[in-house]
Point group: C2
């Protein structure tokens, strides 16, 4: 019997307890021993829980229990999860977590502590919920040089964008629907502004390239400015718009990493990932494109990934898993204004015809998009591949000519 503890009894934590209880036989046959939940840490009371005798409000009950070998941290947030995780690893206990904020901001340090104490720190559930991605990336694709990872990493924004495309809802209406259906928080900022996706692409980048990528200085753009006009222009170009976390390795070995909405061709595998689903494309030098698809959030999918990590820890009580990345100062990342891309631009101009001529002069080989019933003073184009710097430069030259940029969205080559 292997004693484990669960810190947090919220959406994910209660799912973890449920799966360990209901899937006992399956888990036993995988490990050869029973997993037993000895403690559940939560400040709230759960008198009706079948596990009500396991609850504690004191972390000390867990850290001081020598029998507890594996702990699931599913509280979320940095404090006190960070402090607790550190202490547990230092005590030689393995920790598994679904906490993307913790992994994205403290991963390198915690992996180092785990290594020093011969414990495991696993976090399959921190990216993509129930979609297997951390383990495939670190194990199955180990014989590849990863060239790029691009993912729809946030279900809330993908649900909103899907509703905008499929049902012509505007952003506000789609957000409200997402909130009503429980896919979006009352305060949706972390989702719609891209911060959640940013943490996840940073975790994937750290893992794939071996150096911690901190989210702080990564260009992160959300979807709040996307309009139904953009949706129509995208569709006219056989594209959808998706919020993409993207990291690619440039020829000089530096990383181009950002979160931004992108126009994606409908033929792309990521284009067909709709509603609250997530999808992650890994471009390896040997495998080519490999895509992982599924529910990126939710109690049971996420909890099942946490339990899979618990199982892995139970099988590796003596041996360490080789999941690791080194600390870094993000100095291997190019500034966002050096990033190169085609962009979709939508303009409003007093004199659209002459404005279009100026845009052509500035950007070179553009493609003009057309939709039915477009606003009278509006036009939209797709530029050739240029640096963000160069694009801003060109746009600034239009400023004084009665031309306003209404939208600027990257074109994805995915």
């Amino acid at each position: 019997m292997i004693e484990v503890a669960i810190m947090g009894h919220g959406v994910v934590g209660s799912g973890v307890a449920e799966i360990i209880t209901t899937h006992k036989r399956k888990l036993f046959s995988s490990i050869g021993e029973e997993i037993h939940i000895k403690h559940i840490l939560d400040l709230r009371e759960f008198p009706d829980s079948p596990l009500c005798d396991r609850f504690t409000k004191s972390f000390e009950d867990i850290i001081n229990d020598v029998e507890v070998r594996v702990v699931a941290e599913v509280m979320g947030g940095i404090n006190p999860a960070y402090d607790y995780t550190k202490r547990l690893l230092k005590a030689g206990k393995s920790v598994v977590t679904s906490n993307k904020e913790l992994v994205a901001s403290k991963g390198a340090e915690l992996l180092q502590i785990a290594k020093e104490n011969n414990a495991n720190f696993l976090f399959e559930a921190s990216v993509g919920g129930g979609i297997p991605i951390i383990r495939p990336l670190s194990q199955c694709l180990v014989a590849n040089e990863v060239k790029e990872i691009a993912g729809i990493l946030n279900g809330t924004t993908n649900f909103i964008l899907t509703k905008m495309f499929d049902e012509g809802m505007d952003f506000d209406a789609a957000l409200k629907l997402a909130q009503d259906l429980g896919f979006a928080e009352r305060n949706p900022e972390a989702d719609v502004e891209g911060h959640d996706a940013c943490r996840k692409i940073c975790i994937l980048a750290s893992l794939a390239f071996g150096k911690h990528v901190y989210p702080d200085n990564i260009h992160t753009e959300g979807i709040t400015k996307i309009t139904l006009s953009d949706v129509k222009y995208a569709a006219s170009n056989d594209c959808v718009i998706k919020l993409i976390g993207d990291v690619k390795v440039l020829n000089d070995g530096k990383m181009d990493i950002f979160v931004a909405p992108m126009l994606i061709n409908k033929k792309s595998q990521l284009a067909n990932i709709d509603n609250e689903f997530n999808g992650i494309m890994v471009r390896g030098d040997c495998t080519g494109d490999v895509v992982f698809y599924g529910k990126g959030a939710g109690s049971m999918p996420t909890a099942s990934a946490v339990v899979a990590d618990i199982v892995d820890c139970c099988k590796h009580l003596k041996a360490r898993k080789y999941l690791f990345w080194a600390d870094s100062t993000n100095d291997n990342i190019i500034p966002y204004n050096k990033s190169e891309t085609s962009v979709y631009l939508r303009f409003c101009a007093e004199d659209p015809e002459s404005a279009l001529i100026k845009v052509k002069d500035l950007f070179g080989d553009i493609r003009v998009l057309s939709i039915e019933n477009k606003a009278e003073n509006e036009f939209a184009v797709i530029t050739p591949k240029l640096s963000i710097d160069k694009i801003s430069d060109c746009l600034s030259k239009l400023n004084n000519d009665g031309v306003t940029v209404l939208s600027k969205i990257r074109i994805g080559d995915l």
Copy 2:
């Protein structure tokens, strides 16, 4: 330094040698030791290979070399791969393979021998080429009861079906193109008759449900009878046709497993997997549907999966991986005629109108399909969900009425 041997220097084997050579640094940083190719077994001569000094024609050089800890079996076929693999495992050497025929027909026995000799027998490359699926299924999804696995497991047939749908080529023309492009063998039977897909779904079923499923008695239908009329009727119903390997667990715990072409709704994640790509959907009770997509064959994708298994063996020289299934007599599988499904039926009749009335009487709540420019005496319907037995029964009753069944294709609920 860990000494390995490669048996076979064909498409996959040469890729394995190349990856170990060119990705030396990446592999070293994962294992902490260098992988060194000591022997390559092949009866042919490769005087121009940079590894020409490692070639041997004698298996005894490998089995008798105590330094060799891990062997990649990439010869294909049952003989002598089966005999060699058995001897290597009995000698305590770990074996990794891309050989789906070997795993599908001898997996249980080889896993048992591996267990007894504290060696590993891994086969990530045997299904889905470079797509991670064996490890995700056995590790990441371990906290799920798998309900169903359905996959496009053969790139050749998927390429042919894609060309039939997208370009209106008939089967023979699409097959010829696949052969010209190197996606199909000169003798394409194993692909187009579904045998290759059958081996792969058997491996996945064995792994997911813990008992060996032997391909011999599994219903296996290929795509040779699919016509452009079927393609048109499918499209009229918002469907594509894909060759699917499918296994699901029924309420009584028995398995419904088969390989057959299926009409799949265009909205399904498997519907958008085109050309030579493979895709595998795993339906877990906790995760919901998870889909894995990528190149299912080819030298480098497959070789990279073999090398990932070599790396895993190198990390587990002392500990066994818990990949295992028990032997079985396929007695947990229902006979195919008990399998339940809706089917698409295309008929030719002397008197189509009265034939349609009879079809309605026999099948109950059918849906009639219509396409432009249909052949005069032809009609097509979709039946309600019935057992294959019941469907055959109904069809036999039409036999004497001047009605001919031109096509019968399952409808997939994927």
